[in-house]
């Protein structure tokens, strides 16, 4: 099979066989691992200290206190977690969550299986949001011009101030997107009371173009709702619908469910950067951002939209192939454009879908859940210039950092006599505000929200506000003198009004219980395109230019910058670049050659007279003639974790270049900047680890992946365990479903108290993530494909780590787990050295030391917090296994298949991970292990891993595959 002849590589230096890379690999341990104490003198000093301190151990342990409640809490038993159904809102759209709380502390977030946007899945942002709750750098006090004040003073001030507000002529409110029905109601109340006031919703990563495109195509702004499970063919025009443009985790699930061999969809992607969606594509083409619109125009013409069937002889062959594929799948295909593309491209895409009969099947249209727009800010700037704005209220937004550069929000704020800012952090905007008010985290406050499809749900608090924060609704209630002042009353009264009648109380209780209010999703709207307007769009062809273009995209770590102070997210490697603690100006190898720059060179990016500096990162598969950069870095006032991490691209982003800009100048500065990437860490040295085939090859030879990677020597020196009795745990990871999104990495970090180590430690190869999400490039460095493989401890039946431990700290359990006893480990690291999968992580330093009490509140009490000098690794979430076993025993029944969910499995939006009892032939995991695509990593070593993988399939278009193969 030709697949195995293909070369898999992780970095350009590996592909090129760089000797520096070999040296990195061949070191027994990563940098500085073998250097302990500097000198003999230092050693003696340490020894002396140890002897001196040894005497102290004779003292009795410190006295500990147990503090029970004064009065019992109904339904609460100390030691048992409680779960609350709530929602998390990002960019105005919410997704359902279940919050696990221990003794009143939220510690872990899961997706709510009842919620249509989640169906049990949670993204990396949702998983990490619990850490932000305990961020000690959060805003802790009301500030008046930087001086400590109080809510009481603010209340008194605002009451007298608003008396003189008249009709609200000078009152302006800026907020993020508002999907919350009760807050929208409150806004209406405020605007009724102050009719001359204005409210601006701004999201740096808004999706105005989509709605504006619908307005062009259908005459009214509508939001497209996708049904990926109904689409056989998907064409994405720079839409990262599996990654950072994904509005609901359920999209990923719908897509992944259609990757099964019996009904496999086909995904074409045209894009600039390398996105998760591009990495999962069956065919991917690179295009500069402005050329993506060109593709939409080509497609429209070739499909004969508006009766103009005019096959373009100049059209590339691949476009013709796509068009034929789309025409074969009328009503069962889907074309979508990314939020960075202008409204005209979206309009064409809406039209294409309509003409292909997809409207109402794979895509339907509803009223938009949120309406945002940067134009409001422009008008605000003009009004401020004219001195018309007297009071500016900023709710939960940070426009000084992320507003378009030409709005110059900082200057705008200085022109307004009274500015009030509500935010979770004392951030860039807070620094310029007259009043800064601490905002409550979503886990601390009442609220409500709507999912992407309009489904409403209640947000309920799981802890009292830690730092005295209040919600946007409460601040507006103060401003507008609303009858209810507390969020709970505001939200509750709003919904009781909606339901009315005697059943209202019941409905409220039900909504809190389910975490979703059923029947609130938006109805589909019938659409019909306006061909005349669309033809005009087809006619306009933007002039071609050879200018460099710059694309702005969301960050997988900080989103738009709001998660910048979240260490879990900062340290999570970007799925594609594998960069941590940084963003970079990504460009293709060819572009880098023509600019004569290398990865790590600092360049100056200039456009329209504005400039920023950023380091270069050469990204294989990036479009030539373009640079892309992640937003959300280079913050200056977010806290100790995120300040001055990365480079801020917002100064280049203007009102008209929210998605991308043209005419970029790149100048080399001669400076170098250390970028840290995990792409070369823990390499398994070019062995055939990822296995993939095309759908056709799979049909011809279903067991293609079973081919051994070498001669299997089944002889073992060690006594083999018997695995015939009881539960035997095993896992299967379906590489065909895995989209590489990082959710499992973050879920594991939250569940297992995995520390953050920081950029410098990651540089030394000391990252602690138990799950390593390997990203392999396949093919030529200019235009490679990508393959994923999440690798955690494989729980080998004949585990090489166990036989080399001198103190038997790592042992086999009768249920097939590779146990790790932290208290016994003395830190020789022999096990890590002998592990062929490189999944063991060593605590080189005490990463939990010096944490504040509030930071420790996030710990899962069921998992030990590891100290310096011990080894750790994936445990298959043994705490969850034991909990469910005790539960089943208490109920006097056997364990059910699927009852135990590991943290990674539970959160996986693609449902790629299945865990269960391999001794039970009917369990899901057993059935998957019998799948012909099932294979083990490095089977030739005879380690017999309990984790196995299902080989990946690609579904290329036969017309194009033949061409590419030649």
């Amino acid at each position: 099979m030709s697949e195995h002849a293909r070369k898999y590589w992780r970095s350009l230096s590996e592909a090129a066989g760089d000797p520096e890379f070999r040296r990195w690999l061949e070191r027994e341990f990563p940098e500085h691992a073998s250097e302990w104490v500097g000198s003999r003198r230092a050693l003696l000093k340490l020894m002396a200290a140890s002897f001196g301190l040894a005497g102290l151990t004779a003292c009795r342990r410190p006295e500990e206190r147990i503090l029970p409640f004064s009065k019992g809490v109904e339904g609460y038993v100390p030691g048992r977690p409680l779960y609350y159904a709530s929602i998390m809102t990002l960019g105005g759209l919410s997704t359902g969550v279940l919050v696990e709380t221990h003794e009143g502390r939220p510690t872990k977030i899961e997706g709510n299986p009842e919620h249509p946007a989640s169906r049990g899945a949670a993204t990396a942002f949702v998983q990490a949001s619990v850490l932000s709750l305990y961020d000690p750098d959060r805003s802790r006090a009301v500030l008046r011009v930087g001086r400590r004040s109080s809510w009481e003073e603010f209340e008194a001030f605002i009451a007298s101030h608003m008396k003189a507000a008249g009709k609200g002529e000078g009152l302006r409110v800026v907020s993020g997107a508002i999907g919350s029905p009760s807050l929208a109601d409150l806004r209406a109340f405020l605007l009724e009371r102050f009719p001359a006031a204005r409210w601006i919703e701004y999201e740096p990563l808004g999706r105005e173009a989509e709605a504006a495109g619908a307005e062009l195509a259908f005459g009214r702004p509508l939001q497209p709702q996708y049904r990926f499970d109904q689409a056989d063919v998907i064409v994405s025009l720079d839409a990262d619908f599996l990654g950072l443009d994904c509005l609901a985790p359920v999209w990923i699930r719908q897509y992944a469910e259609r990757r099964r061999a019996d009904s496999m969809n086909r995904l074409y992607v045209v894009e600039t950067g390398y996105s998760l969606t591009g990495a999962n594509a069956d065919h991917r083409w690179r295009a500069r951002p402005s050329e993506v619109g060109e593709v939409a125009r080509y497609l429209s013409r070739q499909l004969g939209l508006g009766g103009l069937k005019a096959p373009d002889p100049g059209a590339p062959k691949w476009l013709t192939a796509i068009v034929r594929d789309l025409e074969r799948h009328r009503g069962r295909c889907l074309v979508l454009a990314g939020p960075r593309q202008p409204a005209s491209v979206h309009a064409l895409v809406h039209w294409i879908n309509y003409e292909l009969g997809n409207a109402g099947r794979t895509v339907y249209y509803t009223e938009p859940v949120v309406r945002t727009g940067a134009e409001g800010l422009q008008r605000l700037a003009e009004e401020a210039e004219a001195g018309e704005v007297k009071t500016l209220v900023i709710l939960g937004a940070n426009p000084v950092y992320n507003a378009p550069a030409d709005v110059a929000f900082a200057d705008l704020m200085r022109r307004v006599p009274l500015t009030i800012h509500l935010g979770q952090e004392p951030d860039e905007t807070a620094a310029l505000a007259t009043w800064h008010l601490p905002e409550a985290h979503y886990l601390e406050s009442w609220g409500d929200g709507r999912a992407a499809d309009g489904t409403a749900a209640i947000q309920q608090p799981t802890i009292a506000p830690l730092f005295g924060g209040r919600t946007a609704a409460e601040v507006i209630a103060l401003l507008a003198d609303y009858p209810q002042r507390r969020s709970y009353d505001i939200v509750r009264q709003y919904w009781l009004r909606q339901w009315k009648g005697r059943e209202a109380e019941r409905a409220w209780a039900q909504a809190l219980h389910d975490g979703v209010i059923s029947g609130t999703e938006f109805r589909a709207v019938a659409v019909s395109p306006d061909p005349r307007r669309l033809q005009a769009l087809l006619a306009q062809a933007p002039g071609k230019s050879e200018d460099l273009e710059l694309q702005f995209h969301p960050s997988s770590s900080t989103y738009d910058g709001r998660f910048a102070n979240n260490g879990w997210l900062q340290e999570a490697p970007d799925p594609i670049t594998k960069l941590t603690w940084d963003n970079a100006a990504c460009m293709s190898p060819a572009t880098a050659r023509s600019l004569r720059v290398e990865s790590g060179d600092v360049v100056e990016l200039e456009a329209g007279g504005r400039r920023i500096a950023a380091p270069v990162w050469i990204l294989p598969g990036h479009a030539d003639g373009a640079v892309s950069i992640a937003l959300g870095y280079g913050r200056t006032r977010c806290g100790r974790v995120g300040n001055r991490v990365g480079h801020n691209p917002y100064p280049l982003r203007t009102l008209n270049t929210q998605g991308f800009l043209r005419g970029l100048q790149v100048r080399k500065t001669g400076r170098r900047y250390p970028l840290v990437t995990t792409q070369e860490h823990h390499s398994m040295e070019g062995r055939p680890l990822v296995r993939e085939a095309t759908l056709e090859e799979f049909r011809a030879q279903p067991d293609f992946a079973r081919k051994p990677d070498g001669k299997v020597d089944a002889f073992s020196l060690f006594r083999e365990h018997s695995y015939s009795q009881g539960h035997q745990w095993g896992m299967v990871v379906d590489l065909n479903a895995c989209i590489g999104c990082n959710a499992c990495v973050l879920a594991c970090q939250a569940e297992n108290n995995i520390p953050i180590v920081g950029k410098d430690q990651v540089r030394r190869g000391r990252e602690m993530h138990w799950i390593r999400l390997d990203r392999y490039f396949v093919g030529e460095p200019d235009d490679p494909q990508i393959a994923w493989q999440p690798v955690a401890c494989q729980h080998c039946e004949l585990a090489p780590c166990e036989t080399v431990c001198p103190v038997a700290a790592t042992n086999h359990s009768p249920e097939g787990l590779n146990d790790m006893a932290y208290n016994r480990c003395i830190g020789t690291r022999y096990c890590a050295n002998n592990c062929p999968y490189k999944v063991r992580r060593f605590n080189f330093l005490d990463y939990h030391k010096g944490l504040q009490e509030v930071e420790k509140m996030v710990y899962n009490p069921d998992v030990t917090v590891r100290m310096r000098g011990v080894m750790e690794k994936c445990t298959y979430c043994v705490q969850r296994i034991e909990e469910k076993k005790v539960q089943a025993k208490a109920e006097g029944r056997p364990l059910r298949d699927g009852e135990i969910l590991t943290a990674c499995q539970q959160t996986c939006p693609a449902q790629a991970i299945v865990f269960g009892d391999v001794n039970d032939p009917d369990s899901r995991v057993s059935r998957l292990k019998r799948d012909p695509r099932n294979y083990s990593l490095l089977a030739s070593l005879n380690t017999r891993p309990r984790t196995s993988y299902l080989a990946r399939l690609r579904n290329p278009n036969p017309e194009l595959a033949a061409e590419e193969g030649s």
Partner: protein, 214 residues
């Protein structure tokens, strides 16, 4: 020139040997006496409220679970909220000065600062629920609390001690409904009863690391 006499070398050797012996002996002795059965057993701190288990559980015959409600549902048995004390003491001995702290806690909402007696290291995850439902009595680990005026630790709670029972559970098992009967005496060989229970209820105590260390 000779600075030291020849014997000095011999003295030095003898002294050095003695030193080594004393050092080794000292370490051995230290290791021996610092085992949990000497350092932990007998710990009986002064509690903020002089609550007598002997009076309540022994003389009055209250069941353990009246206060320690979590024992069958949770990993922790739990210390009762002050409200539980007040269930009776709102009427019984309602002005007793010894109960002042309980009344104060009940009224102010502030907890009573009980001193922890039975403590396991943070890397040990003991589950009361699993043990009580399997038929391990309170008395196995906590002793005759119903006879203690002031509770003290009677078992070392060391790993070796845990494993003794995990490896040979039969003598410590009894029908689960009798776990809180601290004075219960089996009418026949307890090992026999334990064996029957193990067979009937499928009790196989784990001895692998992750059973307790996670």
């Amino acid at each position: 020139m000779q600075l030291f006499e020849k014997q000095v070398d011999r003295y030095f050797r003898i002294f050095f040997l003695l030193f080594l012996l004393v050092l080794l002996g000292g370490i051995t002795l230290f290791a021996f006496v610092s085992r949990p059965q000497y350092t932990e057993v007998g710990y009986s701190p002064i509690q903020p409220v002089a609550y007598s288990h002997k009076l309540h559980a022994g003389n009055l015959g209250m069941d353990c679970r009246y206060c320690h409600i979590g024992v069958e549902q949770s990993a922790h048995a739990g210390i009762p909220p002050s409200e539980v004390c007040m269930n009776c003491h709102a009427r019984v001995k309602k002005d007793s000065p010894r109960l002042a702290k309980i009344r104060e806690s009940y009224e102010t909402g502030q907890p009573v600062n009980w001193v922890r007696i039975h403590r396991l290291p943070d890397y040990v995850h003991f589950n009361h629920r699993a043990h009580v439902l399997a038929g391990v009595s309170c008395v196995s680990c906590h002793g005759r609390v119903d006879q203690m005026v002031e509770v003290r630790q009677v078992q070392p709670l060391s790993m070796a001690w845990c494993l003794d029972c995990h490896r040979n559970p039969a003598p410590s098992l009894r029908p689960p409904e009798l776990v809180t009967r601290l004075d219960w005496q089996p009418d026949r060989d307890p090992t026999e009863i334990g064996r029957e229970l193990m067979a009937r209820r499928g009790i196989k105590p784990p001895t692998n690391c992750s059973a307790c260390h996670r």
